[in-house]
């Protein structure tokens, strides 16, 4: 009844369901709503009935005053407890699904800056304040902020994740329904916070391929792939002076670096992933490689996040050094060439 009524006046009561997350989230949402309405009605009924029945001046049995009852107390302690634990598991399960992207997901970079979303597709197509994605394909967003905290929010997909300066955050989705949906920044970020948004265009796989090929309408055509931009930066900043195909006294090699374990002067170690390589470029002395001194310039403030990502893609594309080493290097080189898709 109510929903019908609302629909006539164009008052939607649920956002569109345009990703695989939408349905299970809405199930949980409406289950919680069911509980909320149920408990509200129970308490309101108790209040109403008692207030009417025992209103001053109304004849009623007021004898045998009860001021405590163990079973009643136990009931309204245990029932909410059990319901709470049940809902916790239900919700936590869905949350974990949302935080663990599948391995074969397509990777898009999202860079937030006051007050714009910048999206990079693997083949180098870039778009601002909008995002084109195909249906049916898991899409992983690797996100970082250039300045303050932002949050990448698409209600129709039921996804949201803060985009922080200084480190990458990730979220993923599989779009299901072609159409145009809102993208918002959900974390307050200054004067034009409410204008930091646009639309996600969900296309069928064929349409998406066509769009990618032409570079899309109103989108900067892909003149260079991220790897090519990275190569240009690599040359411009003369990285090859110290980082060559093998480790030298000036610097360790970056060939086949992605996935390798690095040892640091403080005795700790880490796997060289996107996060580590970003840090090693911008802030190389935070964790200095074992056997090296403080010779590299810090590129903090010199390179922006897009450039760092391009350098990462270039390093990933470099693959293994001539002398064969661990198998991870081979896979890294493979995924590097895959980046040209």
């Amino acid at each position: 009844m109510l929903s019908l009524h609302l629909a006539q006046f164009n008052l939607p009561f649920q956002p569109e369901q345009a990703s695989e997350f939408a349905k299970p989230y809405d199930d949980l949402f409406w289950a919680t709503t069911g509980l909320t309405v149920f408990f509200t009605l129970v308490v309101v009924a108790m209040l109403t009935v008692f207030c009417i029945r025992y209103r001053h001046g109304r004849k009623a049995d007021r004898s045998n005053q009860l001021t405590s009852h163990m079973m009643l107390e136990a009931t309204w302690t245990v029932v909410p407890f059990v319901l709470g634990v049940f809902m916790f598991f239900w919700a936590a399960k869905l949350f974990v699904d949302q935080r663990v992207p599948p391995k074969d997901a397509m990777e898009l970079y999202v860079i937030g800056k006051q007050w714009m979303w910048h999206i990079q597709h693997p083949n180098g197509v870039r778009e601002n304040q909008q995002m084109h994605v195909p249906t049916g394909k898991p899409i992983k967003l690797i996100m970082i902020s250039q300045d303050v905290i932002h949050s990448f929010f698409i209600p129709a997909f039921r996804i949201k994740q803060d985009v922080i300066p200084g480190r990458y955050t990730v979220q993923w989705f599989t779009a299901t329904k072609p159409g145009k949906y809102a993208i918002f920044c959900a974390e307050y970020c200054g004067a034009k916070h409410s204008e930091m948004g646009g639309y996600v265009y969900v296309l069928s796989p064929a349409e998406y391929r066509a769009w990618l090929a032409t570079g899309g309408e109103k989108v900067v055509a892909a003149k260079q792939t991220p790897v090519e931009i990275g190569k240009e930066l690599w040359d411009r900043y003369r990285c090859q002076t110290c980082h060559v195909e093998t480790d030298t006294v000036y610097g360790p090699s970056v060939h086949g670096l992605v996935g390798k374990t690095r040892k640091f002067t403080d005795g700790s170690s880490a796997v060289a992933d996107r996060e580590y390589i970003r840090e090693a470029i911008l802030d190389p002395y935070k964790r200095l490689n074992e056997g090296y001194g403080k010779t590299m310039p810090e590129y903090k403030g010199e390179l922006n996040e897009e450039q760092v990502l391009a350098l990462y893609e270039y390093i990933r594309s470099l693959g293994a050094p001539p002398t064969p080493s661990a198998p991870t290097v081979a896979s890294a080189s493979k995924s590097g060439s895959g980046g040209n898709l």
Partner: protein
């Protein structure tokens, strides 16, 4: 402490001595007072001023949101307005609202003491509060703050070009005023209870203030340090929070919510204490499950410190960390449920008077219930992804803070008004305003749940990207207008009652509790003789109460008026 004092003593009393209001008429006698009741009045006036400022900001916000492209403000201004609304309402209204006014007035009286343990500290706390408030107003006049009340870094520390430093310092100062109040309550409740006033004879209002004080003295120093760190990063460029300076932006959120989530309980627990007093008095029933209500208060205070991370599910905190915070958050729901069911059951077999304070109490239970239950959506990690930082959250915490804390404040004010001023206000006007506030409140905030679920982010000036949100904003703004009328009405009739209200006598409601056994307004020393307590709290007898006609009952039924005509 017999129950028969009620009714008779108020008829004939020899010329009353000076009460706390008449004992000293100069301005200096107010500004230098050490009387907890006068300090409570100073606080009441100051928090009302801040409530008015915050309310004015709220009305500007609601006016702007009528249209997807705003109405009259620039975005820079709008951001300063909503920040002002949040900072003023949280730090300068909600935190001190009940404890510093009703708590200050009543805690000593309820335990049978002549004053708080440290009267000078109490006065100092008001001066610090006022100093903080003036700095805040100064910051506002110098251009305001645009960070929101949460001051998230690195926006607040390195990017904002507004009066962040001054505002942070103002909030820092205000924190000390609540610490002083908290210390005062704890010592008073431990050391100054009247003979016979055992812990389990304390009114639940006192338990609530005890728990609140514990949260205040454990939590407030943390936010003080956090604000100091923010100050250090902004002014001295010390790298705590900004990655550019080598800090971690999410660290600020952890530290901030470590205080600010418990602060929610600082705001709501005293309100729950008020409701326990109102429900028992207007049902003439001993509270159902006294120990359960008392211990659930302590449980909320304890668990409240372990849930801050539920604000950070999508902030980049570890998934497993989030799970721990999620489950503990669900557990906080349990003591809240215990309270609500015990209140509802208290009415069973009572002798129920639906006078103004009771209407507020019933409104509180309903709205707090919705506020609490909608917290489940946000404790659930999956639904939180969608709902956090949207109007759903805005609606949720307004149900708890306004529907809960402010309704309780209004209920408490109407209940103790005769005690505080010695005058009755017109009950019909009271009922009318309670109804208007209830309707206006729901009309304002229920649509916000829906528009939040649809995806409307909070702190948005424009929503032209998705104008479909508009109808809900229109409803909400209409509701806010009704709500404003509801808040203005009591100002009028309560002021009117100061001069024209019927004399209240000691105990117009027929209430138990030590504060009702002394004259209204009470003498400076509260009790002519220190009372000796011989019975449990809320020792009401509903069967007896059926036959009883208190002054409030007579006024309600118009008997008093008829007698006057004769």
């Amino acid at each position: 402490m017999s129950a028969t004092v009620v009714g008779k003593a108020e008829v004939e009393r020899p010329e009353p001595g000076p009460n706390y209001l008449t004992n000293g008429q100069t301005i200096a006698s107010w500004l230098l007072t050490k009387d907890h009741k006068r300090i409570a009045m100073l606080y009441l006036i100051s928090i009302s001023v801040f409530f008015a400022i915050g309310g004015f900001a709220a009305s500007l916000i609601r006016a702007e949101l009528i249209s997807p492209r705003g109405v009259m403000l620039e975005s820079e201004t709008y951001n300063r307005v909503f920040s002002l609304h949040g900072i003023v309402m949280v730090f300068f209204f909600l935190v001190p609202s009940i404890p510093a006014t009703l708590g200050n007035f009543l805690v000593p009286m309820m335990v049978g003491a002549r004053d708080l343990a440290f009267p000078r500290l109490n006065l100092l706390s008001w001066y610090i509060y006022v100093a903080g408030g003036i700095l805040m107003i100064l910051a506002m006049c110098m251009g305001g703050v645009d960070t929101g009340w949460t001051f998230y870094t690195p926006y607040s520390s390195l990017y904002s070009n507004s009066q962040v430093t001054l505002a942070v310092f103002a909030a820092f100062l205000a924190g000390f005023s609540s610490i002083f109040t908290g210390v005062n309550f704890i010592v008073t409740i431990h050391r100054m209870r009247a003979p016979g006033m055992t812990w389990f004879r304390l009114p639940l209002f006192v338990w609530a203030h005890y728990a609140t004080s514990v949260i205040i003295i454990l939590g407030t120093p943390v936010v003080a340090i956090t604000l100091l760190m923010l100050f250090g990063e902004r002014v001295l460029k010390l790298g705590f929070f900004s990655p550019e300076l080598g800090g971690d932006p999410v660290l600020f959120q952890h530290l901030f919510w470590f205080y600010s989530h418990p602060a929610v309980y600082i705001m709501i627990l005293p309100g729950m204490g008020v409701i326990s007093e109102l429900i028992t008095c207007f049902s003439r029933r001993r509270i159902f499950g006294y120990e359960f209500v008392a211990f659930s208060t302590l449980a909320i205070a304890g668990l409240g410190f372990l849930v801050w991370g539920h604000h950070l599910f999508v902030s980049g905190q570890s998934m497993y960390q989030g799970m721990v915070f999620s489950i503990i958050t669900f557990l906080v729901g349990v003591p809240s449920a215990i309270k609500v069911f015990n209140w509802a059951t208290t009415i069973y077999k009572g002798s129920v008077r639906l006078q103004t304070p009771m209407l507020y109490a019933l409104g509180f239970i309903g709205l707090f219930l919705i506020g609490g239950l909608t917290g489940l959506y946000l404790a659930s990690m999956a639904t939180d992804i969608m709902l956090t930082d949207t109007y759903f959250v805005v609606a949720h915490f307004h149900f708890v803070m306004v529907g809960g804390a402010v309704m309780a404040m209004m209920g408490g004010l109407h209940f103790w008004w005769p005690k505080i001023t010695g005058r009755m206000y017109p009950d019909n006007w009271g009922k009318l305003s309670a109804a208007i506030i209830f309707i206006g409140f729901n009309l304002t905030f229920l649509p916000q749940f829906v528009v939040g679920y649809l995806g409307m982010p909070r702190r948005y000036h424009y929503y032209f990207l998705w104008p479909e949100f508009q109808p809900y904003h229109l409803l909400s703004t209409a509701g806010a207008t009704v709500l404003a009328v509801g808040y203005l009405l009591p100002v009028c009739y309560l002021m009117w009652s100061l001069k024209y209200g019927k004399k209240a006598g000691d105990n117009p409601w027929g209430a138990k509790g030590l504060e009702w056994q002394t004259s209204s307004p009470p003498p400076t020393e509260n009790f002519p003789v220190v009372p000796v307590v011989t019975e449990e709290a809320y020792n009401y007898d509903p069967e007896l109460a059926e036959k009883e006609e208190t002054l409030a009952d007579k006024l309600e039924h118009g008997l008093e008026a008829k007698e006057d005509e004769k």
